[in-house]
């Protein structure tokens, strides 16, 4: 065969490409396996505990029997409260940073600060919530304090996601609107925000997941060890799913006996987070219809 330099390099290139793809596939496979193992394990251990009664009654017999209804409701309130607090402020902050603020040292420092906040351990937020909301503002250990603390926790995520979403709105949309003689504020509110909304929601989904699952921030600010009754105002303490698991698994009187209850609670928590995510994904998909550019 005559020497054909291209054939050789081509073959070599195919080989290196195959190895590369194989590595990538292995990585995906590994993650899939781990995920499957975790969910499988939780499901296998927890599904027996799930029943209508489990979902709709409060714990009984020193929390060794009964359901987790107050914790579900509590987590729901805390999560919704956190998002209700963090989403408007986060979006407003992102709009200011991207559309109005003069890009300079101050804004750069602010961004670094926000990114740092995103990396701060959640227990630090818990202590901050205790010091600021519970003690200083005298909200006490309550839904309000817990939701605000969780809101502060997810604020950086929402700001960053909203900023990215707003930046992804094509500059040409802004120009088109401004060139029509539309004011900046109206351009932002009528064109930029509606276009960025699906992206902003993606950020919120991440925030929701995190808010629902955190234990440390609510431990000092909102969560009750046990309360059979449902909250009647935002100044009431509530039970919450993650904290309930924590309590059952570490501080209960019968840790071993309540294992099935613990797994059941975890399963409900995971399902709740998945459900909220799914809901947000559906809304986002609905809003994205016909908005490709």
């Amino acid at each position: 065969m005559t020497a054909d330099p291209f054939r050789i390099t081509l073959r070599r290139r195919y080989r290196s490409e195959r190895i590369f793809f194989l590595t990538l596939r292995l990585a995906v496979l590994l993650i899939g396996l781990v995920m499957l193992a975790i969910f499988g394990y939780i499901f296998a251990n927890g599904y027996r505990a799930i029943s209508w009664e489990f979902l709709t009654t409060p714990p009984s017999d020193s929390m060794t029997k009964g359901g987790i209804m107050p914790a579900i409701v509590g987590t729901f309130y805390l999560t919704v409260g956190a998002v209700a607090f963090a989403l408007p402020i986060g979006v407003a902050c992102a709009v200011y940073l991207t559309e109005y603020a003069r890009q300079g040292t101050f804004v750069r420092l602010l961004r670094i600060g926000i990114n740092c906040l995103a990396g701060v351990p959640s227990v630090v937020f818990g202590l901050f919530g205790l010091g600021f909301f519970v003690v200083f503002l005298k909200f006490g250990s309550s839904i309000l304090s817990g939701a605000l603390t969780l809101g502060a926790l997810i604020l950086p995520t929402i700001i960053t996601a909203a900023e990215e979403a707003i930046k992804a709105v094509p500059q040409t949309f802004r120009e088109a609107s401004l060139a029509l003689g539309v004011s900046k504020w109206r351009t932002v509110s009528r064109i930029v925000l509606p276009t960025a909304l699906p992206g902003i929601l993606t950020g919120s989904i991440l925030g929701i997941g995190r808010a629902a699952g955190e234990t440390a921030p609510i431990m000092f600010t909102a969560a009750a060890f046990f309360t059979a009754r449902l909250p009647s105002s935002i100044f009431d303490e509530v039970m919450a799913l993650p904290y309930h698991v924590y309590v059952l698994a570490t501080a209960g009187t019968a840790i071993e006996e309540t294992r099935p209850l613990q797994y059941g609670t975890v399963l409900v928590l995971a399902a709740l987070v998945a459900g909220i995510n799914l809901f947000a994904v559906l809304i986002r998909g609905y809003m994205r219809r016909g908005k490709r550019w």
């Binding site: 003069r102 120009e175 060139a179 003689g181």
Partner: protein, 253 residues
């Protein structure tokens, strides 16, 4: 003579930071005429266009010197609201940029924010603008459909219709056909010809044949200066400045 000029630019300099993009530009734009601005990339023609409706305001760290009068008012005067200027001087961009809304809402977007509320008024405005932009026949049955489903050429005509719905006195066009195929380009050129009865058009183009075909007056820019400004027929058959001649005959660079 004065009242035939709708916009006059006097000794205008423009800076991006310390970079001087326009040097001592003085020129007048005639009412109900098509004026083309030509020149190589980076010669300042688009910068000048964006000065005329204060779009350059949106860029940080820029500075304007000299004066620009629109119907006798200095548009960079202290008491002037740029939003009001942009209402009267519309703009069409290089790439079609309809909003991700329906065809109908694209056109009513501006008028609604200006306070036109009555449905019948809005509908009449939509029909009139789309007819002016020669798009009505193609979209009259699909006004509720997303503007993003239109072809590039239709999108650009929709953008023209959207600008026309604001009833501007002047329409600035920044290379409006550079992203379009020849047929769409021809449609837009024809529409420009028809529009000049009602308003003044200033167009930046890289396509010299286009400038020759559609404009009455042509200004040639080079390195931020207005080199030559004359009747289009004169510029393309017998320009007076060597740089213009070199550019339009393709002897540049």
């Amino acid at each position: 003579m004065e009242n035939t000029l709708i916009i006059t630019v006097e000794n205008c300099n423009f800076y991006y930071g310390t970079y001087r993009a326009l040097t001592d530009v003085t020129m007048g734009f005639e009412r109900n005429r098509v004026t083309a601005l030509i020149g190589p990339s980076g010669c300042g023609k688009s910068t000048l266009l964006r000065l005329l409706n204060r779009m350059n305001d949106l860029i940080d760290n820029t500075r304007v010197e000299g004066r620009i009068f629109f119907e006798g008012t200095d548009i960079y005067g202290k008491e002037v609201d740029p939003v009001e200027i942009r209402r009267r001087i519309g703009m069409v961009f290089q790439k079609p940029n309809p909003f991700p809304k329906s065809i109908y809402n694209n056109i009513t977007y501006g008028p609604r924010l200006m306070g036109v509320k009555k449905k019948s008024d809005l509908e009449a405005l939509v029909e009139e603008s789309l007819k002016q932009a020669v798009l009505w026949d193609e979209v009259k049955d699909i006004l509720g459909r997303s503007a993003m489903t239109l072809s590039g050429g239709q999108q650009q005509r929709l953008c023209i219709a959207r600008a026309l719905a604001m009833k501007p006195d002047v329409l600035l066009m920044d290379e409006p056909t550079s992203a379009l195929d020849p047929i769409s380009t021809a449609k837009i050129e024809e529409l420009i010809e028809a529009l000049k009865k009602e308003l003044t058009i200033i167009i930046v183009t890289h396509n010299m044949q286009q400038a020759a075909r559609i404009s009455d007056r042509t200004g040639f820019f080079y390195l931020g200066r207005l080199i030559e400004y004359d009747d289009t027929a004169k510029i393309f058959t017998n320009p007076q400045v060597k740089q213009t001649e070199d550019y339009i005959t393709g002897r540049f660079g």
